[in-house]
């Protein structure tokens, strides 16, 4: 995982239980993430399964990249399937981090293993309440802080914990190489 300590940009705010079918609907699972052209295409479909109540599209029609490098989620982000297409589609669209109150286990793990996006837990549910899509924030992953650019208000984030070693090594393969598990 490329370890960028500062991530700055516009946010896309979503609610509870954003499941993997909403992140990448099953009809696009015929795309194989390790094929470069299909990786790019997965980005164009990121979060296209969100209900129509979301008025703003995460990735505009006809585009491959999002203008929102940071997603602010509520509870249980990434629940459902083990499809790695989910973090991959977000990463391919240009998402750098997902900040959520909590994550579903396999999605969190797939973020760490692939290094596609940085999953960080919020310390309270204030972010989804106070912030709205389009607001600009700066995240400092070293200090575990999120600052709202317009107001300067800073929110504490949870430390990534005992997977930091894996994250900093650059994912499960590099971690295993560092530990001498594999060549």
């Amino acid at each position: 995982m490329s370890h960028h300590n500062i991530i700055k940009g516009k946010i896309f705010v979503v609610g509870d239980n954003i499941d993997t079918d909403q992140i990448i609907p099953a009809q696009y699972l015929n795309l194989v993430p390790t094929n470069p052209d299909e990786y790019k295409k997965l980005g164009s479909y990121a979060l296209c399964g969100l209900p129509d109540s979301y008025k703003t599209r995460f990735v505009k029609d006809g585009e491959f990249k999002t203008e929102y490098p940071i997603i602010i989620g509520a509870n249980n982000f990434g629940c459902g399937s083990s499809r790695e297409h989910a973090p991959v589609s977000l990463g391919a669209a240009g998402t750098k981090a997902v900040i959520a109150n909590s994550f579903a286990r396999i999605f969190f793990r797939n973020c760490i293993a692939t290094g596609e996006v940085f999953p960080v837990e919020a310390t309270s549910d204030i972010l989804t309440k106070e912030l709205k899509t389009g607001d600009e924030v700066e995240i400092n992953l070293e200090k575990n802080e999120l600052t709202v650019v317009k107001t300067g208000k800073t929110h504490k984030l949870k430390d990534i914990g005992d997977v930091r070693e894996v994250v900093e090594a650059g994912g499960i393969f590099n971690y295993a190489r560092k530990k001498g598990m594999i060549k």
Partner: protein
């Protein structure tokens, strides 16, 4: 220690495993399918090199099942990618579509073909891999990158989960089945109620259930966020496994003083048929309280509700009745499909009961519309249909279009609902 901790400790070559420990465990089986297999192979080749060999050609099991009966060329290409890899690697267990070895849904195929054994560790690139804890093993779903790692090394770094124990005692009332137990639990604890945890199911009700019904319970552990579902093996488990494989296995049991994160108790005699309303498996209501809710179709299939016992339950309700809405039948595997034509209720085969009730002609085995899939998938909700389904998820758009709605139910409730064209408690037909 709990059964989960004991299995993981053994797989890590350690005496103990405590919740929160990060340990390297050895895998006994790695399963992948057509949706995640090609990506897993891509990761494996990228990281270990183009000429790398899998760690054990008898332990990698490849079961194409998701997108089989579709005209989508990309899906066909993905199955071809698997075929090429199987040939190149000499993979022993491959269930190839269009050939006599084809089976169908991976989570019903794995136990049927003897790949699930008590005491083992099974990883699969599918979140419903938790199904196999029903046979007393540790089984969990992983992504392509982790699976690519297991493919090359036979090992994976995992965190030992804390265990929540669910004790269900007493006799289930008529019309109530395993699906109602697990939906009730998910409704109580929520879709993130067991996040990162093992869900251990015990009690006299669980002991009274068949092996297939136990699979239904563990299958949906992921719907509460669980890392694995698990049931201690007993005589039924051992007889089932021995009928499928000659491989030796070791049974583990939780200690009497095992530490649990929490213990939740249920009186089975008080359980009733339930449904999970759109769009979350924890939006649980009783079938009785939703009885005027009109539906457009019924779907009976998948790893959760497409096993032979599910169809027997559905047939027991549909015998001599007519369905009011389109009713789709998708046997999980070829073995289940065969049983539809041989198993009888009241002298009639299950197949004939479905035919006489006016159900759609059963589709060949696959995951089909459980997860929507390509637009030409059998039973897919392409418009704004409301579907009562024996599957496991009812997220927005899960079975097809964004406007469609899925209501989760048991095979008994699904069949009863098909007869009335609205959500129906099985006792009301």
């Amino acid at each position: 220690m709990t059964i989960t901790e004991k299995i993981l400790a053994k797989a890590a070559g350690k005496k103990d495993a405590d919740p929160g420990d990060n340990i390297w465990v050895s895998a006994d089986i790695l399963m992948t399918h057509d949706v995640c297999g090609p990506g897993t192979i891509g990761v494996f080749k990228r990281e270990f090199g183009g000429s790398a060999k899998v760690w054990d050609r008898e332990k990698v099991v490849i079961i194409p099942d998701h997108y089989i009966y579709t005209s989508d060329e990309m899906c066909h290409r993905n199955v071809d990618t698997l075929r090429k890899f199987v040939k190149e690697q000499g993979i022993k267990y491959f269930y190839d579509p269009g050939t006599p070895t084809y089976s169908g849904v991976c989570h019903v195929t794995l136990p049927e073909k003897g790949h699930c054994r008590p005491g083992e560790v099974l990883f699969g690139t599918d979140s419903h891999t938790c199904t196999h804890g029903s046979l007393g093993e540790f089984a969990t779903g992983i992504g392509n990158t982790d699976a690519g790692f297991v493919m090359g090394t036979g090992k994976l770094l995992i965190k030992v989960p804390a265990t929540i124990k669910f004790v269900i005692d007493g006799e289930l009332p008529k019309g109530v089945s395993a699906k109602d137990i697990i939906l009730r639990i998910i409704g109580d604890i929520g879709v993130d109620g067991a996040t990162y945890c093992a869900m251990e199911f015990a009690g006299s009700t669980i002991e009274s259930l068949s092996v297939e019904e136990r699979m239904t319970i563990c299958n949906m552990a992921i719907e509460a966020g669980g890392k694995n579902g698990i049931i201690a093996p007993d005589d039924k488990t051992i007889a089932y496994v021995k009928s499928k494989t000659k491989k030796p296995f070791e049974c583990f049991y939780s200690d009497k003083d095992a530490k649990y994160l929490s213990v939740k108790k249920y009186d089975a005699t008080k359980l009733v048929p339930v449904v999970a309303m759109p769009f979350s498996p924890d939006k649980v209501k009783t079938a009785a309280e939703m009885k005027d809710y009109k539906i457009d179709r019924v779907y009976i299939g998948s790893c959760t509700g497409g096993k032979i016992e599910d169809f027997k339950m559905a047939a027991s309700i549909l015998a001599g009745k007519k369905v009011k809405v389109k009713t789709f039948i998708v046997p999980a595997t070829v073995e289940v499909e065969k049983a539809l034509a041989t198993e009888k209720i009241g002298g009639k085969t299950i197949f004939k009961i479905f035919e006489d009730a006016g159900c759609e002609t059963p589709a060949p085995p696959s995951c089909a519309a459980c997860l929507g899939g390509p637009v030409d998938t059998f039973g897919r909700c392409n418009n704004d249909e409301i579907c009562v389904s024996t599957t496991n998820r009812n997220f927005p758009g899960r079975m097809g279009s964004k406007g469609s709605k899925t209501i989760l139910a048991s095979a008994l409730t699904a069949a009863a609902s098909a007869i009335k064209g609205k959500i129906t408690d099985p006792k009301d037909v």
